[in-house]
Symmetry: C2
Subunit: 401 residues, 2 copies
């Protein structure tokens, strides 16, 4: 990518992030009366449900805290509002979020009364990372203590993450999903400096190994979402499921680590695997990346398989931009530009701000919401500021060159 193109993209991403994405959430999601965040927001920001979902609360605390740590020095005039927004969620979680055993409820009502039991370990993951980043932004010790206590509890729960709410009878088909190792790789990256370094490195190595040894099938040139303990995949809907967005997300997490370690062999390996994922996941007829696919092109059990989702495209942008930066591969740059063009032509709402979440297969808006139970202040800002960081370096290559 030329430094000029990097500059141009950086400008476009910054404009989207600072003028359309962050203001949307600052304006519409902060519950100044009862604390925490509204995440169910219609196209224009109207709140259509006031329930508070743990994933969305934890992620938004993380997002606003990260804006403080990332841009606080460069934009001191905006920092207080971001810190204030982060505090709103952190304090709400602190006051209402935990069940008596310390695990985090999945959903609360507007006032903080629990609605759904703490069956979902990812609530705990997002809250742990949110509070850790909030500690970095605010210096409040309770936030670090709670983040680390939650992190330790996650470790204890890993062998049976859904606990009493487990429905799968694991001994008869012990499928393991990619979500947990992916999450742990991201957690280890995020908690560096707060955990003993050897813990973080061990967590990264163990889970990167699980991804490469089990989920990446080199013979079939495919990344499988769920695998048996020996890396095989039963001839069933769950065994054949592909989730290209998830695969690209975990691959860029690992690629970032490989880049930092300067591990050229690992870099080349990962960027190659990325191509398998995008080639299988791209919709040649209408463009965009499918949500789910079946390895043999059978139907999946997910009715929304054909849809084009915001987070899938946000993660794919990160994956192919980082691949381009680390390898200079023209093929990866072409994919990046193709995904960029598709994404920026359809997802960002230039009138009301933020991105649409759910397009149908043809790329038309299927759900007008900007936030819901599963879409909050997370993938879009994370992708934008992550890409902006890399684009800055790529634009700087100019000055250097």
């Amino acid at each position: 990518m030329t430094p000029q193109r990097a500059s141009e993209l950086k400008k476009e991403y910054e404009e989207d992030l600072f003028e359309r994405v962050i203001p949307f959430w600052e304006r519409h999601s902060l519950d100044r009366e009862q604390g925490g965040y509204f995440s169910c927001l219609e196209r224009d920001g109207t709140v259509f449900d006031t329930d508070k979902f743990a994933w969305m609360q934890g992620r938004e605390v993380w997002g606003f805290s990260r804006l403080c740590t990332l841009y606080g020095e460069r934009m001191p005039e905006r920092r207080p509002a971001w810190l204030d927004a982060a505090r709103l969620g952190a304090q709400f979680l602190r006051a209402h979020g935990r069940a008596p055993n310390g695990d985090w409820y999945f959903a609360l009502d507007r006032a903080g009364k629990p609605l759904v039991e703490p069956y979902n370990i990812f609530s705990d993951c997002f809250i742990s990372l949110g509070l850790a980043e909030y500690f970095r932004a605010s210096g409040e010790q309770w936030a670090l203590d709670t983040a680390l206590a939650t992190y330790r509890r996650i470790g204890e729960r890993l062998p049976r993450p859904k606990g009493a709410w487990t429905k799968q009878i694991g001994e008869n088909r012990p499928l393991a999903a990619m979500a947990l190792p992916m999450m742990q790789i991201w957690m280890a990256w995020e908690l560096r400096g707060l955990l003993p370094e050897s813990d973080a490195e061990h967590m990264i190595d163990e889970n990167v190994d699980r991804i490469f040894r089990l989920h990446v099938d080199r013979e079939l040139r495919t990344v499988f979402e769920r695998v048996l303990p020996d890396g095989s995949h039963p001839e069933s809907m769950d065994g054949r499921l592909l989730n290209p967005g998830h695969a690209l997300e975990v691959l860029w997490f690992i690629l970032r680590i490989a880049g930092e370690r300067g591990d050229r062999r690992m870099i080349d390996d990962i960027v190659d695997i990325m191509l398998w994922c995008i080639e299988r996941g791209w919709d040649e007829k209408y463009g965009g990346i499918f949500y789910y696919r079946d390895y043999r092109n059978f139907p999946t059990e997910k009715l929304e398989s054909d849809m084009k989702l915001w987070w899938v495209h946000a993660e794919a942008l990160c994956a192919f931009l980082l691949a381009t930066r680390l390898t200079g591969s023209a093929e990866h740059e072409r994919w990046f530009e193709r995904i960029h063009e598709y994404t920026f032509a359809r997802f960002p709402d230039r009138e009301h701000g933020e991105w649409y979440g759910y397009l149908d297969r043809r790329g038309e808006v299927s759900q007008t919401l900007k936030g819901g139970k599963w879409k909050g202040f997370f993938h879009v800002p994370r992708a934008l500021f992550t890409c902006i960081g890399w684009l800055s370096q790529m634009e700087g290559d100019h000055a250097a060159g």
Copy 2:
């Protein structure tokens, strides 16, 4: 409806049922090697997953048994194959279906090893009805005993249907879904003659009362899917959810009872409520009935809300045909014809048999499967033979008139 039109429709429905629907399942779903039924069937019948789902097993036992009891005398040459097909599922369930406590597992693998715990009470409902009908077809006493034991156990589980797997914290938002009263009304209808009559009548009256008192909101002219114990609906996604197919399904169950009782006031009331449902549920832009809607037209939490599903249209056909038959209302007949035209132009596959299950909003096939985890041998044959029965009577009105 004119007797001529009834005749014409009857011929079309019989052709679909006997030449395209039943043969598809006879050909592709029977697992002669390991027992039970395959339900994951591609467009041409290819089995794409061999797991056996309790709902689908119980429903298919019911379907083939009902063919025996309904058409066995008129088509003695086909009865042995139907009974044989019913036995295949009944014996598989008998051998493998139950957990040690007697509740039915949600999913088994091809050989019958349990894969998913018995968290879902509807598995038990469909299996109880399947075995009861199998008893009627076969005279095998164990099937009746098991059906009734399951029925009693369902009664015990009703206060907390998901048992240990309950995630909702009911005391903070005690929403009740329409599915359970609907199921109980159908169960009471189906088990007549096998339960003490007073039990069945009581179960019908109690649940019809729940539907009318809680789910039907006369002020807002809307049937709500989930309600609080006082019939109110919180301003949340779950509180505002509408499921027009479900509403029409329960309404025709009740209408059939009202018709049998000759309760004219109840008949007039129900057919009026049906109009609210179809007017809200019909897609004026592309035709067909939406899967889900939000009472205030906000987004729902279901990504598949805009899709057009086979069972919704099958149930709507039953609802408006019965309404037409019992009231002669021209408005209901127009709706029936409109739904019929939409449905028969899109769902039946005249090449490979059976109906497609999942169309996108525009009415194009979105998933090519004919059966899956949630689609089996059930709504299509039930709607077809139920409508055929009513059409026979409507055609007979000619001879009488």
